[in-house]
């Protein structure tokens, strides 16, 4: 079976083509880079609709298949930015109708975990999923992915990007902050906010921005302190959830999984608790179409169908609202 997946929850437009024996035939990415500021949902959606046709064609060409070879069309139904989600859903519906193939709506967060399992071979991991829009620790328990810990306000990637903009660093902020942090030495005291297995980044962002404005610190020290504090908080909630659930595996995914310091923390924690660590490679960890296609195959094989009448997008679709029949 071959699935085509459409990912358009935020700034990444992704088209992936994946087979039921886990071959990623194509994984095309077209990223919307805002001219200034953060992601504007309408601008990102316009980018996606303008580039959708090209991306789909490129994916088919790369995979060496035609529309007729595709068995199902999967699309990210939520959570995410409404206008972006609607662009992807509209294209997926049109494609499914045109090719006469079934449509499968996929939860974006579930897809991150599923493709992570596919890519690394992890079977039943506790997952730390960190990106521009999400920060959560989840694990499978009786039919669903349960969320054990998450951010109470903004996501880690959002925190990093906003600071990077204020400091005049490159967009997205993560890689540039990581490079600068390597040269930092001084740890500036910053708010460290962990509430049980949840955390909060808004106070940290306000404080680091304030420290930047004092002009007293080098940007390297600021990046170093931000990373050390923000990632230690992630480490702590992950460790708490690992101790709580006793899961044998720990999976790191999402765009921020590319950060080497965070990957090191995850490896340390896994070792400490006798769990096996898995870091998802960045092409499949950041938002992409292959993860939607792969999860679409799993869902379809477990009987999930999304008729057009129920294919409306859900910008607030929580991961723990989704039945996961293919794992039970």
């Amino acid at each position: 079976m071959i699935a085509l997946g459409v990912e358009s929850t935020a700034d990444n437009l992704g088209i992936g083509i994946v087979t039921s024996d886990k071959q990623v035939l194509a994984n095309i990415l077209d990223i919307h880079v805002p001219q200034e500021g953060g992601i504007h949902p309408r601008e990102a959606a316009r980018h996606h609709s303008e580039n959708m046709g090209t991306a789909i064609k490129k994916a088919l060409d790369t995979a060496g298949v035609t529309g007729k070879d595709i068995d199902i069309i999967a699309f990210a139904q939520g959570p995410g930015l409404g206008p972006c989600l609607r662009t992807g859903a509209t294209s997926a519906r049109a494609l499914a109708a045109y090719l006469g193939k079934p449509l499968v709506g996929v939860n974006h967060c579930v897809a991150h975990v599923e493709v992570g399992r596919m890519a690394t071979g992890a079977e039943d991991p506790l997952t730390l999923y960190v990106s521009g829009g999400n920060t959560m620790v989840s694990g499978y328990e009786s039919g669903r992915y349960r969320i054990f810990g998450e951010t109470l306000d903004i996501a880690i990637g959002n925190c990093l990007d906003t600071f990077a903009r204020a400091a005049g660093l490159e967009y997205p902020g993560g890689p540039d902050i990581e490079r600068k942090a390597k040269l930092g030495e001084k740890l500036i005291p910053l708010p460290y906010t962990v509430k049980g297995m949840d955390l909060s980044y808004s106070g940290l962002l306000t404080a680091i921005t304030g420290e930047l404005e004092t002009g007293k610190h080098s940007v390297e020290d600021l990046c170093f302190s931000l990373q050390e504090t923000a990632y230690a908080m992630l480490g702590e909630i992950t460790e708490r959830a690992l101790a709580h659930t006793g899961k044998p595996e720990l999976l790191l995914t999402g765009g921020v999984a590319a950060n080497k310091r965070l990957a090191g923390i995850v490896n340390d924690i896994a070792e400490e608790h006798g769990a096996e660590p898995f870091i998802v490679p960045i092409r499949l960890a950041a938002d992409n179409g292959a993860m939607i296609a792969w999860t679409g195959i799993e869902a379809y094989n477990a009987g999930v169908r999304t008729p057009v009448e129920t294919s409306h997008v859900n910008p607030n679709w929580r991961m723990d609202q989704v039945e996961v029949p293919w794992r039970s």
């Binding site: 951010t151 230690a232 929580r318």
Partner: protein
């Protein structure tokens, strides 16, 4: 005799004989993944908070372990060994009635803590032990002193999150029982804190707002 009984996320708990008493030695070990300065700051302040707030909680009428010795510098607390079962492991083994009455009692204690200006900071079923007739609250490492509605709301949200993620089969029933007990001891201040609990939950990313 010395036995490691739990390797939590934050500390190792060792059960041992100490001057003829069976005690728990709770040690917050350095985490190698944390910057040493940050690590030292967290271990020291949490040990300090835990010991002082455990005593304050007793004054409010909530059972907590007895403290025998505290060493902030090395982040070690020697305390009473509370024999019993964690609520987390008990929930599935009870009848409906027992479960309800247990959570009313937990709610009452949560109300007593909040009334006394204590925010537990990690209010989950892993941190409450049923020991005979007593319901003992443990692990005050993330606790703080505050009368703010916001902090009460965050504390209550933690309990509700735990019910949703771990005790999903009984979430509504247990939350109702918890709120009944909480209202009993918090009186007129209860509603404001419970409303804030809902508000805090909705503040998260991607939550149905209606």
């Amino acid at each position: 005799m010395e036995e490691l009984i739990a390797r939590g996320a934050e500390a190792d708990l060792v059960l041992r004989d100490w001057n003829g008493l069976m005690v728990i030695v709770k040690t917050r070990k350095p985490k190698k993944y944390r910057h040493p300065e940050l690590d030292y700051r967290l271990r020291k302040t949490r040990t300090n908070h835990e010991s002082s707030i455990i005593c304050k909680a007793k004054e409010s009428g909530v059972p907590t372990p007895l403290l025998y010795q505290v060493d902030n510098e090395n982040a070690v607390i020697v305390m009473e060994y509370v024999e019993g079962t964690k609520i987390r492991d008990l929930v599935d083994c009870l009848t409906d009635e027992e479960r309800m009455s247990l959570f009313v009692q937990i709610g009452r204690h949560a109300g007593q803590l909040h009334r006394a200006g204590i925010i537990h900071g990690d209010l989950t079923t892993s941190n409450i032990i049923k020991s005979g007739d007593r319901v003992v609250f443990i692990d005050f490492g993330l606790s703080e002193v505050s009368y703010e509605v916001e902090k009460r709301g965050v504390d209550l949200n933690l309990m509700n999150r735990m019910l949703t993620s771990t005790h999903y089969a009984y979430q509504e029933q247990l939350l109702d029982a918890f709120m009944t007990g909480y209202r009993e001891t918090m009186g007129n201040d209860a509603e404001e804190a419970l409303d804030r609990m809902d508000e805090v939950a909705k503040r998260g990313r991607y939550i149905e707002k209606n």
